[in-house]
Amino acid sequence: MLDVSHKENWLGRDVERVEDAALLTGRGRYMDDLGTRPGTLHMAILRSPHAHADIVSINCSSAQQLTGVAAVLTGEDITKYTTSLVVGVKAPVTCWPMAVGRVRYVGEPVALVVARDRYVAEDALDLIEVRYETRTAVVDPLAAMEDGAPLLHDGFARNTASDRSFRYGDPESAFAAAAHRISLSMHYPRNSCTPIETYGLVAEYDPGEDAYDVLANFQGPFSIHAVISRALKVPGNRLRLRTPPDSGGSFGIKQGIFPYIVLGAVAARVSGKPVKWIEDRLEHLMASVSATNRATTLTAAVTPEGRITALDWDQVEDCGAHLRAPEPATLYRMHGNLTGAYDIPHVRVRNRVVVTNKCPTGLNRGFGGPQVYFALERLVQRIAVELGLDPLAVIRRNLVPTGAFPYRTAPGALLDSGDYAGTLEKGIAEGGLAELLARRDAARAEGRLYGIGYAAAVEPSISNMGYIATVLTPAERKKAGPKNGAQATATISIDPVGSVSAHVASVPQGQGHRTVIAQVVADAFGLAPADIRVNAEMDTAKDAWSIASGNYSSRFAGAVAGAASLAAKRLAERLARIAAAQLNVPPDEVVFAGGKLAAKGNPGNALSFSRVAALSHWSPAQLPDDTAPTIRETAFWTPPELTAADDADHINSSLCYGFIFDYCGVEIDRDTGEIHIDRYVTAHDCGTILHPGMVDGQIRGGFAHALGAALLEEYAYGPDGSFLTGTFADYLLPTTTEVPEPVIIHTQTPSPFTPLGAKGVGEGNCMSTPACLANAVADALGVADIRLPMVPSAIAALIQGEERPAPEGLKARSNAPKATGAKGEKMMRGEGRASIGAPPEKIWAMLLDPKTLESIIPGAHGVEKVSDTHFRADVTLGIGPVKGRYRAEVTLSDLDAPKAVTLGGKVEGNLGFGGGSGRITLTPDAKGGTDLSYTYEAFVGGKVASVGGRLLDGAAKVIIGQFFSALARRAGGSGGAASGPGLLARILSLLSLFSGSKGDGK
């Protein structure tokens, strides 16, 4: 029976996902699940252990000779086939996907191997010998701009890639007139959303057509396609870029695969075979891509009532070692909405972009939002504290008024729609704020540490392709040509039996786009979602796509689903005309429902959908004269509101702006500094909700990412640029036992600018939640300086005040000043003494005897004596199960016979590098023996520091102490082994420490 009554739409319903059956039964088709052509080779990449060093030499000959190895390539080889990747600003700087002459971050590719399988490729990596001359590294963005800071790129003076100032309204007058000027300086740390599936690609080269074909789990934006083809020196039509059907998550990160696409493509070209590469987790953590860290000083001009009249932003963005496109987009993505959810008429901005010896940055969920809102919402909390106001009152007083939409912000964003106050009040009422406030009172009455935090944010979505150009001056922009819009693409096809397929250029990474598109198209045609087959793979050689295609800036619901809706409606309009001719009714009286096209009000007068839909195939002659075939329709959609930046640098950086109001109650354990989240409430207005389950899924997922950023996650670097969180045992993701269930509240204010009224929703909690949690902790502790992540150790230090001193005769190690080496290494320091039953002269002779020294370096082969006090050796060393090959240098210096000598060692090998020196002092004792005392400094870097940081410091004392007691035993004739390990060996054995997964050993 035909149902012509208005059927409820599929859109907006919580339907089960079409994706899930395959994914739940192990039939997903992710990058590494797809077969490869016979003969496909596998790539592995050698990476720099140093944060900053010149490459003196690379010897690949042993690697090349290994059975199964097809090719070994270095940076110099890559430059023969490519041009530099696009750098994000105009500057005389190059950016190669593999280091050329110099490494600038730990993990930077230095060489690649192509071999018959990954195991053999990694065997070959072990055989490549690279000699480095280290440089001083700089890791802090503020230090990088100082005089005399080590320079990463000659083309970036003071390591500063860009320094732009902006002025909107009349900030000077507003500050001059303000009753209060309240300021806060903040550091947002480095973190990353680390999808569980890593990067992967298969690349192939056809020399006959000089064309590359790459399958990669790249997520877009496809603006990067142009970057890749340019680097490979082919026109866009000779770079076919395809994506697999399924992706194991991205959150922005898989944009950063593109330098590896270039490497894989060159590897395929050189080896003449398809080349596959799957990034491993160590590579991912140290070198894929991360969010920017940012140093921000934000100042507000404030009235006594807490009304903010002006903001002054000073942002220093750290993009890591290379400014790879699309950076510095992270800094500019939020530019139009730097006023947050507030009505602030005057804004001053200084944006500096800095390079440091850390991994290059890129897309990451929230993209610029976490950095901005951590500053802005922390400042709003400080304003309340300093003025003695309720933070909620300050938020309410400054929100963009409900009747003001669309609202133009001072820097140029056009906030499309919203009812900020209404959403806030709904959140307060339904989330139970009153109850939390009562709980806070009760807890505080008992002396417990309980705090409440708030955060309000607008969540931008559907980026304007032109916002990045705001980094350029208006004159530079004119020269570069106009950039704006946000082209979205969707294609609907009808086959000869009238079944409907849809394709969208959205490259989903798990969000369920296929399901929503099926809902959208089903609604347009009066079909069920199951009738629609949706394909979301991308193939740049065959599919409709444009520069803005891809999965980023939360553009799916607003832009892509909207484009699909437009394409479907265009087809539906033509199908209605076809049907109208046969049903003898006007086209606007044709109703699509229940798989039929029927005359309105006359359900008996109907045709089956498939019959009408197939007509263009079977009988085009029957099409009405003015009606085009209905075989395929591609819609391109871009909103007119996304214009280029104007000459005064106003930019509408995104099309849609959702609203979020969060609050939470937290309790902090006085003993441990642990933060317990009592309740977290997040109220969202993301416009029209297309699929409630998926929207909540995005909110919960974003919340968990944000919780990680707030409490657990940081890509930590040592002062020498060594990377310290190289495993999932040190880079800590939240698990089920850390993530509470947030209370989610919705309001829906449709966007007037998107076809379906929907806005993005996937990133908002990454923006609001870190600030909200930090505000709660600030409220609980009454402190202003909150750093992320809020680790218990640091929180405890805020609570617990002065430490109880050590009892007489004991002192705390950490009271000693923190030492750094000449190049910023974190030095492990220690000291000790030993009593030896031999006179100083005997010990002295031992220490200076080259033969003794030589003999106590275990595992040495090919010892080369450079001078009486300088040796080189190849050594194989380790302790316990750990073994590594190293090149070692040993020196004796500052000789003061027979009283003191400095013994120095430096090693470098596959597992990393290390060095140290020990000053040994010999004093005769009363019994004819010697009182030997020593101080030492040692450092370790490279792989072992990345994966074993937890244990390095603690090992130094034991290991070096063991050396000296062994020396004491030998010198004292107490039977110490003649080949006992030396200082060098002991320092080397530091390299063997490891913290991997936890469990049993053996």
Binding site: R118, Y119, E122, D123, D126, L282, E283, D671, G673, E674, L712, L724, T725, A729, D730, T735, T737, E738, V791, P792, S793, A796, A797, E803, A806, P807, L810, K811, A812, R813, S814, G880, P881, V882, K883, G884, N910, L911, V944, V947, G948, G949, R950, L951, L952, D953, G954, A955, K957, V958, I959, L993, F994, G996, S997, K998, G999, D1000, G1001, K1002
Partner: protein, 274 residues
């Protein structure tokens, strides 16, 4: 991230395993549950020439109570010990500590003896062995010996086990009337301990073992102290452990936890004496 090449022996007998150790010395490694060691292999931090798998030796997969000791064979997985009906009665401290060791999935593979052999200073089982004054039973092809816990752990991931020795079992004395308690602070559930405390309280004194701070799990015996005397003792102990900073926690934080969590653990142990 794939292991370097190695030979593999699935030992059919104890003698076979020990003969490989004797022949290869430091180039051979025993693999049991492999939950730490396999990750080291994958990262190529470890490069043995030969791996000897002992998990099919039925005579190592024994768990028994005899002569006042619980003897845990080298083939006993952590999950098996945790599921043992007599665990709470015989080894209440381990019953409390073992749920903190890794996760359900790693305990399903990881062995008790393997964790002790690995000698991670933050691990729970080495801490329990020290707290309870247990023993490690070592064997070579020719001889056997029994090493007290305090002598077994010689440093960060270093033990008294010689290259040609393997752990056949560990033994823990069966609990009497003493009270026990275990507390641990880690960044996340299941992570390496920043500080772990195990306490054993009798009518005459308290023994507190601390993991995660010094290079080895370290136990200290105290008389029955109260109030500030206990605080003083714990403060001395905290400093003597010579804590370090690392990426997860400061040395000061570790000392603070020894003082605070140590005290709470002791108090709990005192209250649950029989």
């Amino acid at each position: 991230m794939k292991p370097a090449p190695f030979d593999f022996v699935r030992a059919d007998s104890r003698a076979e395993a020990l003969s490989v150790l004797k022949a290869e010395g430091t180039d051979a490694r025993i693999i049991a549950g492999g939950q730490s060691f396999m990750a080291m292999l994958n990262m190529r931090l470890a490069r043995p020439k030969v791996l000897v798998d002992i998990m099919r030796l039925a005579d190592l997969a024994t768990l028994s109570e005899a002569k006042g000791d619980v003897l845990v064979g080298a083939g006993i997985r952590q999950a098996r010990l945790l599921a043992w009906d007599d665990l709470s009665r015989t080894l209440p401290l381990i019953a409390k500590a073992l749920p903190y060791t890794g996760h359900v999935q790693t305990r399903a593979r990881g062995t008790v003896c393997g964790s002790i052999a690995h000698a991670d200073p933050s691990a729970e089982l080495p801490l329990c062995l020290v707290a309870l004054k247990g023993h490690v039973h070592l064997a070579t092809a020719k001889a056997k010996r029994k090493v007290a816990a305090a002598d077994f752990f010689t440093g960060m991931m270093a033990t008294a086990k010689a290259d040609d020795e393997m752990i056949e079992a560990v033994s823990f004395p069966v609990a009497g009337r003493e009270g026990t308690a275990f507390r641990e602070i880690a960044r996340r559930h299941g992570d390496f301990a920043i500080v772990a405390c195990g306490a054993v309280a009798t009518d005459t004194g308290i023994r507190l073992a601390v993991g995660g701070v010094a290079d080895v799990p370290t136990a200290r015996d105290f008389p029955l102290l109260e109030g500030s005397a206990l605080d003083d003792a714990l403060n001395s102990f905290a400093y003597e452990l010579d804590a370090r900073d690392d990426v997860h926690a400061s040395a000061r934080y570790r000392r603070e936890l020894v003082r605070r969590i140590g005290r709470a653990t002791i108090e709990e142990a005192l209250t649950c004496r029989a």
